[in-house]
Every structure is written in C-alpha cells, then in structure tokens.
Amino acid sequence: MSEEQTGATSFVRIPIMQRILDNPFILLFIGVVVPTVFYIIWGIMEIVTIPIAP
C-alpha cells in the first residue's frame, strides 16, 4: 500500500549541520557568542586582572 493510500507522510531526517546552516538565528547566535567569549570577554578578563602599579 502506498504512502498516499495510507495517508502517511515520508519523513526525511535533515542532518544536524544542515539544520544549523538553515537557521539564520542559530548562526547569528554562534557568530556573536564565539568572538564575544574568546576575544572580548577573555581579553577583558586579562586586562582587568593586571595589578595596579603601587
């Protein structure tokens, strides 16, 4: 019996990477968080921990 006859719909599993690449807001999240954490926050932590000259 075909899918049309049973009314069932075929389910194609979309790979996780493609789902990420197809979602602009996940990409936006990654594109903001990665540089913010590794470049800005890590850098600020290093600068604020410089001891103040006596």
């Binding site: 990477m17 690449l21 602009p24 594109g31 990665v34 590794f38 800005i40 850098g43 290093e46």
Partner: protein, 570 residues
C-alpha cells in the same frame, strides 16, 4: 503577492521588489559618492607619502588620512554592502523587502552619521584617524557620527534578516537559501557583531568626549575597538566572496563545486573570522600569549582555511563550467578564453588573485605572533589591508556594478572602452602599490608617519635608500590605481545619470560579451571529470592552488628566516 510592486528584468530574469530596488539604487549611489570623496583623499595621502612629492603639511596630512580611513573602510564599504544585502535577500529570494520604511530610516541615519562625522574631521578638531585611540580626544561629533551610522547599518541588517523570514514564510524558495544569499547572511552576522562591539566602545567614548565619563582605559579601548575596526573588514570579505560566487554564476552559469563545502567555509567565517582582530594587539602588554596565540594562530587559521576553500572553489567552478562548454585543451584554455574584455569577470578575477596571493598570505604572516613583530605598525600593515579591502572587496564591488548598471539601473554602460580597462588599471596598480608598501614595511617604514626622513627630529633615523625607492613606487602605482578608481566613478556616474536606457534591443554597450546571465552549465557526457584531466574536474585550478601553497610556504619560511636575522640570539 502584489505583482505591481515587482519588476522582472527582461535580460537577466531577476525579479526586483520596487521599494527594495529604490533602496538598492540609493545606497549604491551614496556609496559611489563616498568612494569619490575617499578617492580624492587617497590621492592627497599618496602624494604626501611619496617622498619626492610630500604634498601636505603634517596637520593636513593627519586630517586627510582620517577622512580617507573612515570614509573608505567604514562608510563606502558598509553603504555598498547594505545595497548588496537587499539585493541578495529581496531579489535573489524573489520576495518583498521587509519594512522598507525601517530601511529608509536606516539609510537616513547612515547619511546623517556620514555628514556629522566628516564635518567634525573637516572642522579640524578630529584628526584622530580611524582608530581614534583614547586618550587622544576628538570632537564629540566624530564619535556621534559613527554611532548614528552604525545604528543605521544595524537597521539595514535587521531588514535583511526580516526579508529572509518573509521569503521562508511565503515559500519563495525551496530547501536552503542560495549560496550567494548565505554569504550575504554571513556578512550580516559579522556586521551585527561588529556594530554591537562599536556601540560598546564608541558610546562610552562619546560620553567621555562630552565630559560625562572621566576616563576610558586605553588597553580596554583598543581591545573592544578592534572588534569593530577589524571585524568591519571581515564584513567586506564575506560580502566580496559572495560577489565572486554571484559573478561566476552570472557570467559562466557556474555552480559551486560543492555547496556543502562552500557553506561550511562560510560557517567557519561566522564562527572564527572576527577574532582575527587580535592580531592588532599582538604587541600590546597586558594580554597573555595564550589569548594572542589562540585568537590569531589557532582559531584564525580556521577562517584562513575557509578563504582558501573559496579561493579554490570559485575558479574551480568557473573551470568546470568552461570545460563543459568544450574549452578542454590543455590545463588553462578555460582561463585563456575567459571573457577578459568583460569588466564583470576581469575585475572579479583580479580581485580573487590579489586577495588570495597578496592579502591572504600577508595576513597569515601578520597573524603569527613571532613574525608579526618584524612588520608590526609598519606600512606593511596598510599594504596588507589594501590588498584585502581594496583589491579584494572594492574591486569585486566595482565588477558587480558593471552588472548592476543595466540590470538594476536599466542603463547602458557608457564609455565601454574605459570600462574594459578600468579593472586592470585599478587592480594591477593596487597590486604594485600593496607589494611596494610591504617591501617598505619590511624595511621598517612606519605606517602613519608624515615624514619618513624625520626632518628636524632630535634623534634622527635613516632608512635605507631602497625604502625610498619602494615609497616612490607606492606613489606612482597609487596614482595609477586612483586613476582606475576615477575611471570607475566616471563610468558609473555617466551611465547611471546620463546613460541610454536599456531597451529590449540593447546590447549593454559591450561587444566582447554580454552581461546577461549565462545559462546553467549542462553536465558533459561522462561527468565533469571526463572534461577535466588526471581524474580532476578542475585540474588547472588544482595546479594554481598548488602554486599558491608553494608561494605561501616559501614566504612564510622566509619571514621566519628574516626574524632570525633581525633579532639574533647569541
């Protein structure tokens, strides 16, 4: 869908949403006006750094250099990119633009910001250059203009994202968005990070300049400012790579060798391209080697890998398309018989070569902590970024313009003979210019110093005579490139405002090739590999890639050898 709001270009088949079309045109025209102004300042800067001419006084030089930097690196690029974002969303996805009124508000803020910022610099009390490092103060309007421009550009980015949502909801495309639109999305995401970083640092700096804040920490400023200053150039990279893919499809009907690989490369840009900003801070005290090396020599290399993927797949896709049309003799018939008289192609290909061979390789050298010290803060640095931003981005945008004049503005390209030679004059002039700058920088010539002779300095310093020769070459090639830029502005302005309308019988003014979109490539019998050689679908591109890698390794190794000689360990 209200069809009255849409126009289909009879030649290209592209569908334009009329409000979006007007916005694209307006942004593009404003961008070219800024380019004209930036080009005039470029001439003045070049004629001052040319030792035999040394045109401007010191105070004028820094004022003009500030105008040149801000207008070219921020205003021209981002204004043109907003037009590209609207094109890549509304036109390529065949849908209406989201909230045109918000887009107009963004445009107005950008325009006001440009005027306010330039007026502050022209007034003479904001000659702080683009970096505007604190505690060097500028007129508050300098920062205010940048903030207004950034807010306007941010609105443009949100309009782009909104248009993607509309296209998805109205199902104007199937599956994933086209690769060119995905590249524009990459540019948009980088732009949002860039603008947010700019807001984080420029708003407090503005408050400091009007007296509401006592102090801005210089190290903190540099850290956050470069997330704006360098990442803004990464918007350009993502945008011009998208333009490369678009032009390969427009001129040759080429399709990417692998959509998955190209999208993954753009994904690497999204995640890792912005942190390359760290290479500006490689000699800053206070930041650890771990931070510097992770950000520049580990994570950044993933973005470099992405650029090499694009640099391989774009010419590779062109080669496959050309071979499918029967240009299969030898390794390079496909390239030899490419439409070199069509500025859409020639500009794009020179952009690709210059960006990869000059900008890309020098960028990796600058991003390596140890060998960066050889050239840090020398004129090598502008040599590098003129290769990426001017040859890479500006030339790619120029080549796209020759396609957009008939398709978007519905005008024939005027002075077609000049348009044909323009990419060569501009591109080759800039290649010589950038390499001469790098040569001078390797000899230690400072990047921003008004007088390399240090006349009347208490402690003098004599550069070798060859440094003066290099700077002379910088002057000559710079003037040649500026003439190429002037030719672009002339052709564009004449075509857009005085050009003959494109009619159904028009030929776009070119005789060697048309600017219509090529038919998609048909798979040859036996597959693309059968049209190639040695089992490769694109053997010529593979050989070019190997040549690139050899140059890359040699230049990298030479710099380590040079480091050993300038800093002997005994």
């Amino acid at each position: 869908m209200n069809k009255e709001l849409f126009r289909t270009c009879p030649e290209s088949g592209l569908q334009f949403h009329k409000p979006a079309e007007t916005l694209m045109r307006t942004n593009a025209v404003l961008a070219v006006v800024i380019l004209l102004f930036g080009g005039i300042t470029a001439l003045l800067v070049t004629l001052t750094r040319w030792p035999a001419v040394h045109l401007l006084e010191a105070s004028q030089f820094y004022q003009v250099l500030t105008l040149h930097g801000v207008n070219m690196l921020i205003f021209w690029m981002i204004t043109f990119e907003i037009a590209v974002l609207y094109f890549c969303s509304s036109t390529l996805l065949k849908c209406r633009l989201a909230t045109p009124r918000i887009a107009w508000l963004g445009f107005a803020l950008m325009l006001i910001g440009i005027v306010v910022n330039n007026a502050a610099v022209l007034n003479g009390d904001a000659s702080v250059m683009m970096t505007s490092y604190v505690p060097m103060p500028a007129n508050p309007n300098f920062y205010l203009g940048l903030i207004l421009f950034a807010v306007g550009a941010l609105l443009g980015c949100f309009v782009f994202l909104g248009t993607l949502i509309i296209a998805k909801e109205e199902k104007t495309y199937e599956g994933s968005i086209p690769l060119v639109t995905f590249g524009a999305l990459t540019a948009c995401i980088i732009a949002i990070f860039t603008i947010a970083s700019g807001a984080v640092i420029l708003i407090p700096t503005y408050l400091w300049s009007i007296g509401y804040i006592n102090n801005i920490d210089a190290a903190m400023y540099r850290l956050v400012w470069w997330a704006l200053g360098h990442s803004s150039q990464q918007i350009n990279v993502a945008a011009h790579v998208s333009v490369w893919y678009a032009i390969a499809a427009i001129v040759f009907g080429a399709r990417p060798l692998s959509e998955k690989v190209s999208r993954t490369a753009f994904f690497l840009y999204i995640a890792f391209l912005q942190i390359a900003s760290a290479h500006h801070l490689l000699v800053d005290p206070g930041l650890s080697s771990e931070w510097k090396i992770f950000n520049t020599s580990y994570a950044m290399y993933l973005a470099v890998l992405a650029s090499m993927v694009h640099g391989l797949t774009v010419p590779g896709s062109i080669e496959v398309a050309q071979r499918a049309k029967g240009l299969t003799n030898g390794l390079f018939e496909w390239l030899r018989k490419a439409p070199w008289g069509n500025p859409v192609f020639s500009g794009m290909f020179l952009s690709l070569i210059g960006f990869g061979f000059i900008g890309g390789i020098s960028g990796v050298v600058m991003g390596t902590e140890q060998i960066n010290i050889i050239i840090h803060n020398t004129i090598y640095v502008p040599g590098h970024f003129h290769a990426t931003v001017v040859i890479g981005s500006t030339l790619a945008f120029m080549s796209l313009t020759y396609f957009l004049i008939p398709v978007l503005f519905r005008k024939q390209v005027m002075l077609p003979g000049l348009a044909k030679i323009q990419p060569y004059l501009f591109g080759i002039g800039m290649m010589v210019f950038t390499m001469a700058m790098m040569g001078a920088g390797t000899l230690g010539v400072q990047r921003r110093h008004w007088d390399m002779a240090f006349t009347d300095a208490m402690i003098g310093f004599d550069y070798p005579a060859s440094a003066y020769t290099f700077m002379g070459v910088v002057g000559i090639s710079g003037v040649a490139a500026i003439l190429g830029g002037a030719a672009y502005v002339l052709v564009t302005v004449l075509s857009v405002f005085f050009g003959k309308p494109v009619g159904s019988e028009s030929s776009f003014g070119f005789t060697t090739s048309t600017l219509t979109r090529a038919e998609p490539v048909v798979m040859p019998e036996g597959g693309h590999e059968a049209a190639g050689k040695w089992g490769f679908a694109a053997p010529g591109t593979f050989l070019l890639a190997m040549f690139f890698l050899v140059i890359f390794v040699l230049y990298y190794a030479v710099n380590w050898k040079y480091l050993a000689s300038v800093w002997p360990i005994s």
